[in-house]
């Protein structure tokens, strides 16, 4: 257990150090959310006037948690590319031939993903605030949103890691990630109130973890959050993140069996 913790810390440090040497990557990952917030936030401002749309908030306030989840989704969808780079040079083989725990290799990437997600989330909140959005849920609301974003990022990063270990090809990984990430984003209430969407979308969204994260965050950021809407969704996200993390650790076995 001690070695699992030490190894996880060591591998997370390696990733964080790499990020600090290439801060441009973090900046690039923020271009998309800024466009969503500022451009779409303006363009579709009047969407909130449609009868039946969530009321009492501006569209900018409505999409902020959605954009935060989208940012987490897209960043973490790329998580597996680190493994692919490690495979293409000899780093992956060297790690696998060393006593380092496979669990630590997964935890290392997830902890790194969690950290970048926290930074991205706080920056997106900052931009939304500067553009005029206000969140009565306050610090608790922001904390719940950040936690939801981290959990979603961990789910998708675990998935991305598993795919990387199974397909071992950059192009295939990106293709599969996009194929998963885009529907997850649009079959949720991230940018549109699902009350106004066709019935089947509402149905699908109920089982969509991105929707759980968006709904829990939006609720927590509102003036009078209901714990019943937040906690079960957070709980479901925690369970899903744990299951996907475990599956990613298992994917190492498949990778080695076919090596």
């Amino acid at each position: 257990m001690a070695s699992l913790t030490t190894d996880s810390v060591l591998l997370t440090t390696r990733s964080v150090r790499t990020l600090m040497r290439q801060p441009a990557y973090l900046a690039i990952s923020l271009v998309q959310p800024v466009i969503w917030l500022l451009l779409f936030g303006q363009l579709f401002k009047s969407v909130i006037d449609i009868p039946g749309f969530a009321h009492g908030i501006t569209y900018l306030e409505f999409i902020t948690p959605g954009v935060i989840m989208m940012t987490a989704l897209f960043s973490s969808g790329w998580a597996g590319t680190v493994y692919i780079e490690d495979m293409s040079i000899g780093v992956m083989d060297r790690l696998l031939a060393s006593p380092v725990r496979r669990g630590a290799m997964i935890i290392g990437t997830l902890a790194y993903q969690a950290l970048t997600t926290v930074i991205q989330t706080l920056i997106v909140f900052g931009i939304a605030y500067a553009a005029g959005a206000r969140f009565p849920g306050g610090v608790t609301g922001i904390a719940v949103t950040t936690l939801s974003a981290v959990l979603i990022a961990m789910c998708i990063a675990s998935f991305s890691n598993s795919i990387a270990l199974l397909v071992r090809q950059q192009e295939a990984l990106i293709g599969i990630s996009q194929f998963i990430v885009l529907p997850l984003q649009f079959l949720s209430s991230a940018v549109m109130d699902t009350e106004l969407a066709p019935g089947w979308v509402q149905h699908v969204a109920r089982y969509n973890p991105v929707d759980w994260a968006v709904v829990a965050s939006r609720e927590a950021l509102s003036a009078s959050p209901s714990a019943g809407a937040v906690l079960p969704r957070l709980g479901a996200l925690i369970v899903l993140a744990a299951v996907l993390g475990w599956l990613a650790t298992r994917a190492f076995r498949t990778y080695q069996r076919s090596a």
Binding site: T6, D7, R14, R17, T18, V91, D93, R94, A97
Partner: protein
């Protein structure tokens, strides 16, 4: 005989197959490979690409599992206790294993720490290895700025960081320029002398195996075809090799020349390759006049004749049925 406890590395009847592309038959990378490697020696697996060298290394260092067979490293069963094996081995894989976005020192520190060394020990060991491999000046530069030769030295240093009892060097000089290669050879020679370590080297360079290995085995089609010290293998081929280059050769003349040489007394194993012929003789110098006379008598012009002591290439030809250059 299979005696895992007396050898640093053993492999017994290893079989490994990979799925063929598009429903083709499975590819048999290893076809019953067995080998025993004594502790404290440098052992080379020599063979062309795809012969099964790297697959053997992968199995011995726990990266891959064989379909059948057994293997031990430092007396430990590779399949049953991979975790224990991982503590006693160092791997320098074909591809560079340094993180390009970390410095040389950081790479070594991380490698040492995940092997369970304390921060202070890791720092001291990293510093010592950087000095030893002449990388002290570049220690705090990102390794993406390193030359191929520097990177390869760092790879070896990373493989040694935890003082493994067995070091795997998988094609350590492939892709290096001649100078860096010579440099690397010196390092490996020194390594084998200094540290009480068993080194398993794979290579497709004959001269590399000849120079570095105490013992070597030629691997072909997933099996070991012959094993011994480089000297033993060469001396098993009695006599010299005679190389003959004909002036020019018409389509039907090569077999004629082979026939002519076959009848020269003392000459055997005649092979033709275009204008080039080669044969073995107990004494090359004594055979040359007879060779020239016979070819002249058949009306075949000779451009050059050379006599050479047996090389590993000749050994390879004898056991793998083709010359090394043809296939490497």
């Amino acid at each position: 005989m299979y005696r895992p406890s007396h050898a640093a590395l053993t492999a017994q009847d290893l079989v490994k197959t990979y799925p063929g592309t598009r429903g083709a038959e499975r590819i048999r990378a290893l076809d019953g490979l067995s080998v025993q490697i004594g502790a404290g020696s440098v052992f080379a697996l020599l063979g062309r690409n795809g012969a099964g060298k790297s697959t053997t290394v992968k199995i011995l260092c726990t990266l891959s599992r064989p379909d059948s067979g057994a293997a031990t490293v430092a007396g430990t069963d590779v399949l049953r206790h991979p975790d224990r094996v991982r503590r006693s081995i160092g791997l320098v894989s074909q591809k560079s294993s340094g993180d390009p976005m970390a410095t040389g020192r950081e790479n070594l520190m991380l490698a040492a720490r995940i092997q369970g060394m304390s921060r202070a020990d890791a720092r001291a060991r990293a510093g010592a290895l950087l000095d030893r491999f002449g990388l002290a000046d570049a220690a705090d530069r990102l390794t993406k700025t390193y030359s191929g030769g520097m990177m390869r030295k760092l790879d070896v240093a990373i493989g040694l960081v935890h003082r493994p009892s067995v070091l795997f060097l998988d094609e350590p000089t492939t892709g290096l320029d001649p100078e860096a290669r010579a440099d690397m050879w010196r390092e490996i020679e020194q390594l084998a002398g200094d540290e009480q370590m068993t080194v398993l080297l794979t290579t497709h360079y004959l001269d590399e195996a000849d120079r570095l290995a105490d013992r070597l085995a030629i691997v072909d089609a997933g099996r070991i075809v012959v094993e011994g010290t480089p000297e033993e293998l060469k001396s098993e081929l009695r006599g010299d090799t005679v190389h003959i280059e004909l002036d020019s050769v018409a389509d039907n003349e090569a077999p004629v020349a082979v026939g002519v040489l076959g009848s020269v007394p003392g000459l055997r194993d005649v092979v033709a390759d275009g204008v080039r012929l080669r044969a073995r003789a107990d004494s090359g110098a004594r055979a040359v006049p007879a060779v020239l006379a016979a070819l002249d008598g058949a009306g075949l012009g000779v451009a050059a004749v050379t006599v050479a002591r047996p090389s590993l290439d000749d050994v390879y030809l004898r056991y793998a049925g083709r010359t090394f250059e043809e296939v490497a």
